[in-house]
Subunit: 624 residues, 2 copies
């Protein structure tokens, strides 16, 4: 064969290969939804999620996620354990796994017979329980080290709730509160139990009986107003149920927090939650028009829900972020959106995190924003890669092509590059317009499409993260996510400062192995972004793992505050971060909210003691 | 000439004519701004606006607006008086004009010598005054009948402020408040004095001396953060000044209320204001990130302004809609936007108001919204037409062409058709995308472009409306605008009910002539719209014009509430609408806000008594 023919053939092959890569990477319409029925699976009593889903060893250094609930399930991951060992510098093997404490101690119930009788008289059988297991389940949230790790592997909680009630309507909520006033009980509202702020931890100093009010039975869509695109929904509904039921009616609320499977509408309002698709649908305060908070002094609510108001100070301001301190949120009126015409996933890779941030910042200024766009740093990108299956032979070939193109042709550094996952929603025309804007702007910042499949995978990975925590917990790896909102120009300062401080702390406490820290930008705003950190390190040889962990978390939080970040973007304050509140709100603000509480709850029935009502938030406790 | 040639020629002429019309109506880029320096003109002491701008007679049935401040100025309007006479069925002529009361009585100042001395000691000369004229100016807002009409043509106010102070920085605001606490004075914050809710009317029952704190000297941009697109601005700045100064720095806040020339940043926050371009920039609660409220108990503020928070109940919720009841808003951090790449005005005409509403509703669902889009009903459209100059000969020809096309070819009914004014802003690509979406959707709802010039004229007309009130006031025509937010499916029910009720009331009080009512949709929301009504009727023969007027306004407001509208979309409650608040907020909400006030202002120094603090809002007063 003459040389020129060979050259021509090679050129043709190269063109075909490039075309193939481009084709494989091109984003395409995707209308797959993710609304399974969570009732189709038993939940863990204490740890996150469903019993069908667990990391298990599939070989000496290989793991697999059981079941088929998530895209993460059902295949062997050859790279996950090696990645974890490389990063944390500790070994992972079946024989090193901790044994869960089988018999978990529960403090004795303090509920008086009179109070129990009053509850039994007003509610039906099965609506009141003082069983140990029920009480223990309702005595914590999902705070990793202080709650889950402690409960499973360390020792008992200091204080548990004394009874659990399950009201089925607003009248019953009122009745429970009246009984609580009459018998001087402490009341703690319980939604999905997914908070990571210690909001549900029972105050040890509480001497009255504590009643947990589990709202799960108040889960109905009370009405749907299709003309005005709003719905009134009971606050105990789980996110996944709500979306599945709205979807069946042709609507969505668009609220999609990482915890959507297990968290509730009422919980979202009381923590001022944020959803992954907030660019399109808004955060919870944008989605919820009005809500009802039942307090010992009556219902705090706006009687007329109208599109927008100028009617003095609005009571709804007292509901968002109330964290169970005032009463029980029973229902809310939400905006709903007709079912999507189009949804398209996408992903992008950038040479560096800095490139990705520059791209996000410019994109924000175009005001053309996909429903969700999230940027993970290199560590988190590699973490995501480590959760993949061993590729098939054909996939291996494509992977090699892609890798060659990315690393050799484009010159990306595998220890620097980062990735963006994208969800675009709207009319077909709108999604086209978004895709054009996003991908052309990304190219100008050195970005390349990483394919729709990777975009979808990255978005869905969110739902598997908490199960990874459970896996690590078994090896005494203490980990948690924590988040902040920061101005655009502080992103790199804060991430660098947090990483440096974590290394300092790790050294200071002489912790074995190495610490892990990754982060992603999960939300963009006009003035900045939300940064979501994932942290972990080995606590195996620590005497007081919880104390050490929170000592470190506290220092990292202060580092964030000192560098211009917020105390929390959407996780809330609870008890965990209450000690920082005097750096956030002025004293006069705090006193005004305290007085407002006194009006709503004069007998302090709602003494969950979160935020400004936590012991850590009061001056004496801090000095002591 | 053969017949077929004639036909051909006629066809050609028709094509040219249509092309000409289309060309004339095509929207085009427009970058004209409207940031004059309001200091370039003396303001009226009591009535709205600048002394260079007034309606005056230019002939027996012709008027003209003096000066050159607005596009409305400097030409003869031949149709305005005939339109007014036709609609109101009363005559308008120079000899029927009322004479303004020259010497306006002012109640004696109750400021004690000790308090005056304390103020004089702390502030510089020229910062404290007890002159009658200054006090009278600060004793009212712009409530049409109860304040302006009364003051100019009827009789004195029951109670005036006893001194006016002009603080120049936050320390001085604090000092004034401290003096007020020490000497038990009542303090009323004063911004632009543009409210139409009676918020500045002095409570007759107030026995303490009342100090008006005029914030106009606190008008600086304290800092501009270009990296994070935010600015900290003192609350006394007038809207027009703020926009002019930001514009010089390359930015805009995007807040554009009808009152932007004369209202202030602090006033916007305390009334929860709305701007014409809220689709792009948001209402005031979206624009203002954080603000500082100085109260007798200290500053209510968030110490760290970060992009988004989950840090418990947020103090900013207490500021929006506070209406002077808690303290003085001294500064705010606002989002700012880099100067526009493109702005384009546009207008549309629809066969009927119903068509226009259908179009708006569909447009809202596309999520492609121009910065401003407002729909005026037929009456208001004709009102706008009546404010035009006599056309030139060439313009007359074009008008005739347009009219012929609209009425004969398209079959529009001049007594049914309505119009939309549009302002599109953003990048060039974004404006193009908006224009495509808007105009193609409009065509599907029977709409036709009415040209960019008409769009701009309609948008700018806003600034002339208040001067029209002054003109009518001179003829004892009592008029006011009032607004509400309503769900999409109640728009026609509410407008019809208000019109019917107005006619009933007009008959009931045996008022001469006919009542006028027009309305426009000024804002669209996911769940509904803002309807802005303009009402007027002759009060010449009424014994108690103010009482009658407010009796009628009260009934119309109740009609709106009964049909699912809100108490106010952005004007606020003040004293005018306080009696309705128990239909809006639950008792427990109100009590929580009352208690919050007690924490901030234990001595009730801020006793302007607006909203839930007004006499009309308390049960006793309502029953009495």
């Amino acid at each position: 064969m003459p040389l020129y023919l060979l050259a021509l053939l090679l050129c043709a092959a190269a063109v075909v290969a490039v075309a193939l890569i481009v084709r494989l990477m091109r984003p395409k319409d995707d209308d797959l939804d993710f609304f399974y029925d969570p009732n189709l699976g038993e939940r863990f009593a204490h740890r996150w999620g469903f019993v069908d889903t667990q990391f298990e060893f599939a070989g000496p250094k290989q793991v697999r996620v059981t079941g088929s609930r998530y895209p993460l399930c059902g295949f062997v991951m050859p790279n996950f354990v090696p990645f974890a060992e490389e990063v944390l510098q500790i070994p992972f093997a079946p024989e090193l796994m901790a044994q869960e404490i089988e018999h978990k101690e529960v403090t004795a119930s303090r509920l008086t017979e009179a109070a129990r009788a009053a509850l039994d008289q007003r509610l039906k059988p099965g609506q009141v329980t003082a069983e140990d297991e029920d009480r223990l389940i309702h005595s914590h949230g999902q705070l990793s080290v202080d709650e889950i790790y402690r409960l499973l592997y360390r020792g008992p909680l200091e204080r548990c709730v004394d009874a659990v009630v399950y009201p089925e309507n607003e009248d019953e909520v009122q009745a429970v509160i009246e009984i609580a006033v009459e018998h001087d009980l402490c009341v703690v509202p319980y939604g999905g139990g997914t908070n990571v702020s210690g909001a549900l931890l029972c105050p040890a100093e509480e001497e009255r009986a504590i009643i947990s009010v589990d709202m799960r039975r108040m889960n109905r869509i009370l009405w749907l107003d299709e003309d005005n695109l709003q719905a009134c929904i009971e606050a105990g509904i789980y996110g996944m149920d709500m979306e599945r039921e709205l979807d069946a009616l042709g609507y969505t609320s668009g609220h999609d927090p990482d915890s959507v499977e297990l968290s509730t509408l009422g919980g979202w309002i009381s923590t001022n939650a944020s959803g992954m698709k907030k660019n399109r649908y808004g955060n919870i305060e944008d989605i919820v028009l009005e809500a009802t908070l039942v307090t010992p002094s009556g219902a705090v609510e706006t009687i007329r829900a109208t599109p927008r108001n100028s009617v003095g100070v609005q009571p709804r301001g007292l509901l968002f972020g109330s964290e169970g301190n005032f009463g029980i949120i029973t229902k809310a009126i939400l905006k709903v959106h007709p079912k999507l015409e189009a949804r398209r996933y996408g992903s992008l890779v950038f040479p560096t995190f800095e490139d990705g941030v520059r791209f996000l910042r410019q994109l924000r200024r175009t005001d053309v924003l996909p429903a969700s766009i999230r940027l993970v740093n290199n560590f988190e990108f590699r973490f995501g890669q480590a959760l993949k299956a061993a590729p098939s032979a054909s996939k291996k070939l494509i992977d090699k092509f892609q890798k060659f193109f990315l690393l050799k042709v484009k010159g990306f550094d595998p220890l620097q590059m980062c990735a963006c996952t994208i969800v675009m929603e709207g009319s077909r025309a709108e999604v086209r317009h978004q895709a054009r804007t996003v991908f052309s702007l990304a190219r100008r910042h050195g970005g390349m499409s990483g394919g729709a499949a990777n975009g979808k995978r990255g978005y869905m990975l969110t739902f598997g993260i908490a199960y990874i925590r459970e896996f690590f917990n078994q090896f005494h790896v203490l980990g948690e996510t924590f988040e902040t909102s920061v101005p655009w120009d502080r992103i790199h300062t804060i991430t660098a400062a947090v990483w440096e401080e974590l290394q300092n702390q790790h050294r200071k406490y002489e912790i074995e192995g190495k610490p892990y820290l990754s982060y992603r930008v999960t939300q963009t705003y006009h003035t900045g972004v939300c940064i979501y950190f994932t942290m972990g390190f080995s606590g195996r040889n620590l005497e007081n793992p919880a104390e050490t962990y929170h000592g470190i978390e506290h220092e990292l939080r202060q580092t964030i505050l000192d560098n211009g970040g917020s105390l929390s973007h959407h996780h809330g304050v609870g008890k965990l971060r209450a000690g920082f509140l005097d750096q956030v709100h002025s004293a006069a603000s705090t006193e005004a909210i305290r007085q407002a509480k006194r009006a709503m709850d004069p007998g302090n029935q709602f003494a969950a003691r979160n935020g400004i009502f936590a012991a850590a938030a009061s001056g004496e406790a801090r000095e002591g």
